[in-house]
């Protein structure tokens, strides 16, 4: 494992195709710089995001997960993000109760015109994860090096 000083958190982002993904695109085309720690997965709607996705990402060794969709009332499919909101709220609270640090599960609303907001959020989340430290939740020993957790998908 890398030295603590070199360690960079790895973050997976599930972005809705209509708003947040376009927002991230806008950040790119406007030449705004955001941390390269995020790996983006495009989903058709935030309502597509299953709590299992978040757990799987953490199981694979990602340090955090960002879920992002259209603002309430602006869903391309009318109600997808409202449904996502209930699901994500429950997931966040429940995972916190089971013992996963709340900083690892993040959610936001980013519209297609909010490239700046997207940059800010990714920066904040990355900084937050640096404070929380590497994800060793699923490693064989909690204070081990975490190789086991990432060994297989």
């Amino acid at each position: 494992m890398k030295q603590e000083s070199e360690w960079e958190p790895k973050l997976v982002g599930f972005l809705c195709k209509w708003c947040s993904y376009a927002g991230a695109d806008l950040a790119g085309t406007s030449r705004r710089k955001y941390p390269a720690n995020i790996r983006i997965i495009k989903v058709p709607c935030s309502g597509r995001i299953e709590p299992l996705f978040l757990l799987k990402a953490l199981r694979l060794g990602f340090d955090g997960v960002l879920v992002s969709g259209c603002h309430p009332g602006e869903c391309h499919y009318q109600t997808g993000n409202y449904r996502a909101r209930r699901r994500i709220a429950i997931t966040k609270k429940f995972l916190e109760w089971v013992g996963i640090e709340p900083q690892r599960i993040q959610a936001s609303w980013v519209s297609a015109s909010e490239g700046g907001k997207f940059v800010d959020i990714v920066t904040e989340v990355t900084t937050g994860l640096k404070i929380v430290g590497p994800n060793q939740l699923f490693s064989q020993e909690r204070d081990g090096d975490g190789t086991e957790a990432t060994a297989r998908g």
């Binding site: 299992l52 199981r59 309430p72 209930r86 709220a89 429950i90 640090e101 959020i121 998908g153």
Partner: protein, 316 residues
């Protein structure tokens, strides 16, 4: 109550109002009952109601075809309503024989109380708020709070929420939340890291028999995510990491359908305190969305509706 149930069940079958009756009959072991699913009116005489009718029979509703008469305690009736909300069961095709429930006796608690195996006990009787155990010619009395299942102690709705025939007088609720939440409160006092270690340690024992899932009336997916292979979300072998993901995601999936009937914990062969997970989710759903599962058959289920403004504090 038992006589009336037998009478009603027989009448329902004779008049052709139902094709099947789902109830309880005496089990093969002492102080146990076992589900009875029958279409023969003569079997109605085998039906029993006693403080040992543990199973949540709503679980069988999705599997039995035709019109069904079903014996339901308070929590079971909520599971049935929850299935109706999800369109898994039609209200017209079930006749609910409601049992106002006094709480179910947890035999493992009894065994611990008298430090004897259940086979050595002569009798267990419920008298008011006492449980009387006769063993070796002696009579031992315990308050019901020591003898009932944890979820029964917290029961808010002992009388069925939805019924066609109520077998007995409605029973007022007397939830004893403090006692039923003992383990949960212990966990709440821990740091997140300690809680994670607790669950890691508990789920280490899990043998992935899926009894908790199979017994759960809210877990009605035809194909469970744990059995999917493309992609393979979790490995089928029992490793604590995958066991824990299975339990976490299972609880998220049944959020808003779980009625805290406690079946998952009861059936666990390795005694994992699964109810602590389920109850926390139950309380969470109530706290966030003021929703209790299975209360009103005409209400929409939790995950299929929403309010314009809610849960915004979780989003940046």
């Amino acid at each position: 109550m038992e006589q009336r149930l037998r009478h009603e069940a027989k009448a329902l079958l004779e008049q052709g109002k139902v094709d099947w009756i789902i109830g309880f009959e005496p089990g093969s072991l002492k102080f146990t009952t076992t589900p009875l699913i029958t279409n023969d009116k003569n079997d109605a005489d085998r039906l029993v109601i006693n403080p040992f009718i543990v199973n949540n029979l709503a679980n069988f509703l999705t599997e039995v075809k035709g019109r069904v008469g079903i014996v339901a305690k308070g929590c079971d009736s909520r599971s049935i309503v929850s299935l109706i909300q999800d369109n898994k069961v039609l209200r017209e095709s079930v006749v609910i024989l409601g049992v106002p429930c006094l709480g179910i006796i947890d035999l493992s608690k009894i065994e611990r109380l008298v430090t004897k195996d259940r086979n050595e006990l002569d009798d267990i009787i419920r008298e008011g708020d006492k449980v009387v155990i006769r063993v070796d010619g002696e009579k031992k009395e315990f308050p019901t709070t020591q003898a009932l299942f944890d979820n029964c102690l917290a029961c808010e709705f002992p009388t069925p929420q939805e019924y066609d025939i109520l077998l007995g007088e409605p029973k007022p609720a007397a939830p004893n939340l403090a006692q039923s939440r003992e383990n949960i409160e212990k966990l709440e006092g821990m740091s997140p890291g300690e809680r994670w270690d607790f669950w890691k340690n508990e789920l280490n024992r899990c043998i992935r028999c899926y009894a908790c899932r199979n017994v759960c009336p809210a877990c009605f997916c035809q194909r469970c995510f744990v059995e999917e292979t493309e992609p393979q979300w979790v490995l089928p072998v029992p490793r604590w990491q995958d066991n824990l993901i299975f339990q976490i995601v299972r609880n998220i999936h049944v959020a808003g359908r779980c009625t805290d009937c406690g079946e998952c914990q009861r059936v666990c062969p390795v005694n994992i305190p699964l109810r602590s997970l389920a109850r926390e989710m139950y309380d969470l759903v109530d706290e966030l969305f003021h929703f209790k599962a299975g209360m009103d058959k005409d209400a929409r289920s939790l995950m299929t509706h929403y309010e314009e403004k809610e849960a915004e504090e979780f989003f940046r």
